[in-house]
């Protein structure tokens, strides 16, 4: 290996890790303080990190001629880069920048962990020498990355809901104004019209109690600076709505590849079935989300369980359970 090229690879990797770690700290500070200047610093760091990572993967491809996703190092690198990219897109489209700290922290952890699997520049085993690796792996990794973002939002949702309950004593149920708005006696400051119509309740946590407490309580004030629970719920939904079709497509392209490589599109391999398990969990999430009375805390927990299943599918099966997908090196 050309030392200059190897230096380029290592430099890009270090830039990526440094940008993620710094960006995570800055965006965590933004998460807590909501000072715009921190956002203005943190978001470019996230972009720099992702760009450096994509460049690093591209450099490996260029240097070795081997598609860089043939091992756990490459796929984890792509995972963190795509997670940050999806975060940046959603941050600009749906004002999701407040979640950048946790996302970048997880991306940095994933990338750091990836380096422990970096054995250098390895040629691909015959099973991975297929054009499908350029289709199937990025799709699946993008699905995993989407679910990571959804996981961060779900944890924040559950945290906010739990803390708000302390201020309120219990979760209240808000109903939309009845016909004519005749019973309008409480105005909710944030997201006032994001409620269901009359007779259909939706769990929310924007409470007058919280608004009142915000005047004297720093935690309450901080909570009111975050999006409402209803908005956090919709944000999770939007991200999972990206992840689930990607996971479906990933399973389908994986099945097509398996058909070409192993003669059967489905062999009940642990990886296949673990992916199916994750698909089932997120399909359950989507079905439960159609029920207004189940949206919120319950679906947020399903999202958390879904990401646990993704981690199990992605790392657990690769590392601990042997099967057709055990390409650890």
């Amino acid at each position: 290996m050309d030392p200059t090229r190897e230096l380029l690879d290592q430099t890009l990797l270090k830039i990526g890790i440094a940008a993620y770690v710094t960006g995570a700290l800055v965006l965590f500070a933004y998460f807590l303080s909501r000072r715009p200047v921190l956002r203005a610093i943190g978001m470019p760091l996230a972009i720099i990190g992702a760009v450096a990572q994509f460049a690093e993967l591209g450099a490996r491809w260029w240097m070795t001629g081997v598609w860089p996703l043939t091992n756990l190092y490459g796929s984890l690198s792509l995972f963190s880069a795509v997670a940050v990219t999806i975060f940046v897109i959603f941050a600009y489209r749906y004002q999701m920048d407040f979640i950048g700290g946790p996302v970048l922290a997880l991306a940095a952890i994933a990338l750091g962990y990836a380096t422990t699997w970096n054995e250098g520049y390895m040629p691909a085993v015959p099973a991975l020498q297929s054009y499908w690796i350029k289709i199937h792996v990025p799709i699946v990794i993008s699905a995993y990355a989407s679910f990571m973002l959804a996981f961060c939002l779900s944890v924040l949702y559950l945290f906010k809901a739990a803390v708000e309950n302390r201020y309120r004593g219990r979760t209240i149920r808000l109903r939309g104004a009845a016909a004519g708005g005749s019973n309008a006696n409480v105005n909710v400051a944030v997201n006032a019209y994001a409620v269901q119509p009359a007779a259909v309740g939706v769990l929310r946590s924007d409470t007058p109690g919280l608004d009142a407490a915000a005047a004297s309580d720093a935690v309450a004030k901080w909570l009111t600076s975050l999006p409402s629970l209803a908005k956090l719920d919709i944000m999770q939904y939007r991200v999972i709505a990206v992840g689930l079709p990607l996971l479906s497509l990933g399973i389908i392209t994986g099945a097509m590849w398996a058909k070409e490589a192993w003669g059967a599109y489905w062999q009940w391999d642990p990886k296949e079935t673990a992916a199916l398990l994750s698909w089932i969990v997120y399909a359950a999430y989507m079905h439960l989300h159609t029920r207004p009375n189940l949206r919120g805390t319950f679906t947020a927990w399903i999202s958390v369980i879904g990401f646990v299943s993704i981690v199990f599918c992605y790392l657990g099966v690769n590392i601990w359970i042997s099967g057709l997908h055990s390409y650890k090196m």
């Binding site: 250098g120 085993v125 709505a241 159609t290």
Partner: protein, 474 residues
């Protein structure tokens, strides 16, 4: 005696059956019930991931505590994906999807074109625009039509309403996704009914036949490439290529040259032949007191063995060793046949009595005048074959499933209710409300964008956006 059934009994029975049917359909269409089925499916699948499948009962006895091992075998958890419970739960899910699709998803409609109380709808706004209501209505209709909304006007009690719909067709997305799922299940069923698959190994220079299709595969040569790669952890021997050069004779009797690699199957009359594995078959030579005696009549593959005539002993060829480490006499790391040997195991009856690593071409003394030599190796290639007429249906189902998901998630059916009236201070007042099939939160940002775009496109007088009050009910 002629038996008569009373008409009231028939009608009572009919009513009972109808009620039972309605109750069953309602239960299966109930989302929490469907999700419960998904949860059970998920748990069964998780068990299948954790518990190794298709092993011998003795494997579970060794790997798990006795009660768990017994549980695994007795509950069929060792073959869970083909168990009645697993197939049954998938069947129930399909029924649940069908019930939900036909009783809930398809009938779900955007409300009829009726007037509404604008400010009673959570997503609403009021805008003051210039001009008389009639001209404002025309401008608004043009505004929405230019943005892909289907605009319809209706008059109710002398008041003209404008309704704008978008993506109304997309409410069928769930139906499309469910149809995709059913197609995948149908395609899989076609394979079970009409397809076949199997595997075989063929030595270089020999011919094998696929029994179901009669296709003949004559293996000319098998080649492999394994490269030493220097990694941070040391030298790793990385497989690079496996390739079988064969001659394949199909049903028409015509022979074709075939190069079969991993990821590059060969299609013989619709039956795909896959490069699956390879190995080293060994020619064993057995002598007694220096004379050749009957041994195996063909090269043995890993796991095969032979009995030594006139004794209770047998020899099993366990595995091939590419390189014997000369310093230790043990198997080396390099799998390529540099200084090869074979690991054999001797049995007396069913009882193992000892094993050894013997170099190729060097006889080993078995005692009592017997000597065994692993004379040479012959490469063989392992193939899988599969004929699956359900593939096109599965592929179509997969496409339909993803299309259905995309339609469901990315095309939100929405309706805008627009009421234009004379404003008190001149101009017109535009009341605007929105509803969707998935509630209001999901459309909140889009609605704000629409209102903002409308505000920018409309001439003054000034605009004002109000939001609905809400009531707290504890």
């Amino acid at each position: 005696m002629e038996a008569r059934i009373r008409p009231d009994l028939i009608s009572a029975a009919t009513a009972w059956v109808r009620k039972a049917w309605d109750d069953t359909v309602r239960l299966f269409a109930h989302v929490p019930f469907g999700v419960s089925l998904l949860a059970i499916w998920g748990v069964l699948t998780l068990i299948g991931v954790i518990v190794e499948q298709g092993k011998d009962p003795s494997f579970y006895a060794d790997a798990y505590a006795p009660p768990i091992a017994r549980l695994i075998v007795r509950l069929d958890l060792d073959n869970i994906y083909h168990s009645a419970a697993y197939i049954g739960i998938i069947g129930l899910i399909l029924c649940s999807m069908a019930a939900a699709t036909f009783t809930k998803v398809i009938p779900r409609r955007i409300p009829r074109l009726n007037p509404v109380k604008i400010d009673a709808i959570p997503l609403h706004a009021t805008i003051h625009v210039a001009g008389d209501p009639e001209s404002a209505r025309e401008r608004l209709a043009a505004f929405f039509a230019a943005r892909g909304w289907q605009v319809r006007k209706r008059e109710f009690g002398g008041t003209e309403w404008t309704f704008a719909d978008k993506n109304n067709w997309a409410r069928r997305g769930v139906l499309v996704a469910h149809v995709g799922f059913v197609l995948i299940a149908a395609g899989t069923t076609i394979y079970w009914a009409k397809g076949y698959s199997g595997q075989f190994a063929v030595l270089s220079g020999q011919t094998a036949t696929i029994p179901e299709s009669g296709t003949k595969i004559a293996l000319q040569r098998f080649g492999f490439r394994i490269d030493p790669v220097q990694t941070k952890a040391g030298t790793v021997y990385q497989p690079i290529d496996y390739v079988s050069d064969a001659k394949v004779t199909g049903r028409d009797g015509v022979t074709h040259d075939a190069v079969i690699r991993v990821n590059q199957p060969y299609d013989a009359d619709g039956t795909l032949i896959y490069q699956a594995t390879y190995g080293f078959a060994i020619d064993f030579a057995l002598t007694k007191d220096g004379h050749r005696i009957a041994g195996p009549d063909h090269p043995l593959k890993e796991g095969e063995g032979f009995a030594i005539d006139g004794t209770s002993r047998a020899i099993q060829y366990q595995r091939f060793v590419g390189t014997i480490d000369r310093t230790t006499g043990q198997p080396g790391a390099d799998p390529r046949p540099n200084d090869p040997g074979v690991v054999i195991q001797a049995f007396d009856g069913d009882r193992p009595v000892g094993g050894a690593l013997i170099p190729l071409g060097r006889p080993v003394d078995l005692g009592a005048g017997y000597r065994l030599e692993a004379a040479r190796y012959v490469l063989y290639s392992g193939f899988q074959y599969r004929y699956d007429p359900g593939i096109p249906v599965v592929g179509l189902g997969a496409f339909v499933l993803v299309a259905g998901l995309c339609i469901s998630f990315y095309f939100l059916p929405a309706r805008l209710f627009v009421l234009v009236r004379d404003a008190a201070g001149g101009g017109a007042e535009v009341g605007l409300a929105a509803t969707t099939v998935r509630g209001y939160e999901v459309f909140e940002q889009r609605f704000a964008e629409i209102v903002e775009a409308l505000r920018r496109s409309e001439p003054a007088p000034q605009t004002e956006v109000t939001t609905a009050p809400v009531t707290q009910t504890v």
